[in-house]
Amino acid sequence: MSALPLHAQVINLLAAILLLLAFAMLTQRRVLSLIDLFAAQGLALAVSTGIVAAYTGQAHLWWSAGITLALKVVALPWILHRLIRRLDVKWDVERLVNVPTTMLIGIVLVVFSFNLAVPISQLSGTITRATLGIAMASVMLSFLMMITRRKAIPQVIGFLSMENGLFFAATSATYGMPMVVELGIALDVLVGVLILGVFFFQIREQFDSLDLQHLEKLQEGE
């Protein structure tokens, strides 16, 4: 059995936890728990970025860990909580159709992305290269979550967790993108969520609900 250095082991563990959380989000029906899961995912992300930063000594990764912590563990969940309170959808429970099928599709997606990632990982020089497959799988799972959800807030959380997966790919698998890019991405995410917050109110004003089934009027040929 190969002996990875401790930091790589911890990153692998965090990667596995990230994947697990992605699955948990896929099947979680309560909006509030969904936000908690999202925050937990952000925390795992921040910790793994911090470990990579400590190991590689790249100063900008500390920044990016800090941004992740501030944005994804504190700011975004706080904004979402506030939104939920203001919109009064705190106890929303979504009816999910066919959780087992969703899970099986999720497993298939994981297998697919692992397969896709294997040739790439073999070429990488970083110790934690194997996490690229997990990052890809998280992205795919969030994608699946967005497809299966019918309500606005869970869909947005799916979108954000997709961003998490991407960030994980950037930090753990490649040891970080250039700082400007990370700042830009973080800014985009924040602005996006703020815009969506405004959007939620508009949607509610118009439809009296955040159920996206109302948003299926525009069809071909109409």
């Binding site: 490649t174 993108m177 890019v181 959007f199 508009q202």
Partner: protein, 483 residues
């Protein structure tokens, strides 16, 4: 250097100024002035590049070569004419009670911000910044699409945000993979995402990683180009947003997204020997052309109709860029220009026509020619131009693409020909009764802005008959760069 800063600075300053003063009466004029300043700056930049050749500036973060400077000029030009058009158009909308002063402020500010993000996407040398700018462009236009706050426009904006957000996330993954492949050669610092640096070492980049990265990039940016099957957001966003926004979406944003795809293709072509990117782009392009052409016949909404036409034309360009080679690239660049000009002109006229009729439904818009000959003729000529009738420029570019395809990819030509034929029949059959027939329209409170329409159509006509030598030389240089 100073030109680049000016090109980016004017729209940004305009956005800031309009955010504070946008509700005033003179806001449209400020909007036009900022766009004009951008246009002048971009022309100066163009002249500079034309004289001095490609240009790297600001710690290699910005890169200008004939390919993107041509798009910068086009973007600034159409941005300016659209600003001119939007002044009377939005006033009429305000009179009709569809927007209020606060929304107009948002509109003007976001319009300039949108210009800024597109120009940034074009000028940056950093593929990461390119991604950020594309995402920012999405965010800016989401607010523009939902400007009317009607249920339909909210739905369109939501769809647009989610679909493009997902798409652009794929593009980010592709960018990360690219970085992943490059950092071994260029080191982990800021250099590994610079397009010029990547271009220098593209022969040594890992082919497997690059082909996977390209799939993600094509899917991601292709969503914004409106390639089938990722096109669902496009007709909704075009139909439900204000007309000037439809014009810049179709005329400019789609181009910028395609620009991103082509930049990535250049890298992949250098790394992957067999025509991997070529086949993918040709396939997606052809699929878009065919599917969009057949969907055209089912449209009942005038703006949706032309939105599908945009999908079709973006498909043609993607196909041509995919095919590659000097002639096809030349034709694709020409097609980009004439499509931008024609399609924005059409949206201007359709917007006014819809204002006159009080609806966008094709069947309820009748007899435009009788009441307003300018709008009627504008629509007829624009439609003829976009359908590829000689002597307009679209004919020239489509003809070039078709002849090259006959030579390089003979299997594709029947599909292209059939699709173009179907598109012609369906669009013309729908536009003809709108223009002729018994009028159902009413008078508008302000004079429609028809000058931009005829300026655009005049340019398209000119490009069909005679391409100025410097422009041809410019296209040739850009086509060589793309390879």
């Amino acid at each position: 250097m100073i030109e680049i800063l000016a090109v980016l600075g004017f729209p940004l300053a305009g956005a800031a100024a309009l955010a504070f003063t946008g509700a005033r009466r003179e806001a449209p004029a400020v909007n036009i002035a900022a766009s004009l300043a951008t246009l002048v700056a971009s022309l100066a930049l163009t002249a500079r590049v034309f004289v001095d050749g490609p240009l790297l500036a600001l710690d290699r973060q910005f890169f200008v070569d004939p390919f993107n400077v041509f798009l910068v000029a086009l973007t600034a030009f159409v941005g300016f004419t659209t600003a001119v058009f939007s002044r009377p158009y939005m006033r009429i909308e305000e009179r009709h009670g569809r927007v209020n002063a606060a929304r107009l402020r948002l509109y003007h500010s976001m319009y300039q911000l949108f210009q800024f993000t597109m120009l940034l996407a074009l000028l940056t040398n950093n593929l990461g910044i390119l991604w950020v700018a594309m995402e920012a462009a999405t965010l800016a236009t989401v607010l523009l699409v939902s400007l009317y706050r009607t249920p339909a426009s909210l739905e369109a904006a939501w769809k647009y945000f989610i679909l493009c957000g997902v798409g652009i996330a794929q593009a980010l993954f592709g960018t990360i993979l690219l970085f992943f492949a490059a950092e071994k050669l260029l080191g982990g610092g800021g250099g590994a995402l610079l397009w010029t640096a990547l271009d220098g070492v593209k022969g040594q980049l890992e082919p497997t990683v690059l082909s996977i990265a390209f799939v993600f990039l094509l899917v991601g940016y292709g969503t914004k180009v409106g390639l089938v099957p990722l096109h669902n957001w496009l007709p909704d966003a075009h139909a439900e947003g204000p007309t000037p926004v439809s014009a810049v979406l179709s005329g400019l944003l789609l181009n910028v997204a395609l620009y991103a795809v082509v930049r990535c293709k250049v890298l992949v072509d250098g790394a992957v020997a067999h025509g991997f990117a070529r086949d993918l782009m040709m396939g997606f392009g052809l699929l878009s052309v065919v599917v969009a052409a057949f969907l055209l016949a089912r449209q009942k909404d005038a703006k949706r109709l032309f939105a599908y036409s945009s999908i079709e034309h973006m498909g043609i360009m993607t196909f041509a860029f995919g095919m590659g080679g000097p002639v096809a690239n030349f034709a694709a660049l020409l097609h980009m220009t004439v499509h931008s000009l024609t399609k924005s002109a059409i949206f201007y006229t359709v917007g006014h026509a819809a204002q006159k009729a009080g609806t966008q439904v094709i069947e309820d818009i009748r007899g435009l020619l009788t009441l307003s000959p300018a709008i009627g003729w504008g629509l007829v000529l624009g439609t003829l131009a976009i359908l590829g009738m000689p002597p307009f420029g679209v004919f020239a570019s489509e003809f070039l693409i078709l002849t090259t395809a006959m030579n390089d990819a003979p299997w594709a030509t029947p599909f292209l020909l059939v699709a173009l034929g179907v598109a012609f029949a369906s669009v013309f059959a729908k536009v003809q009764p709108m223009v002729f027939g018994e009028p159902t329209t009413k008078r508008l409170p302000e004079r429609p802005a028809m000058v931009p329409v005829f300026v655009h159509l005049g340019l398209v006509l000119m490009l069909g008959l005679w391409i100025p030598p410097f422009l041809a030389e410019w296209y040739r240089q850009a086509a060589r760069l793309i390879g």
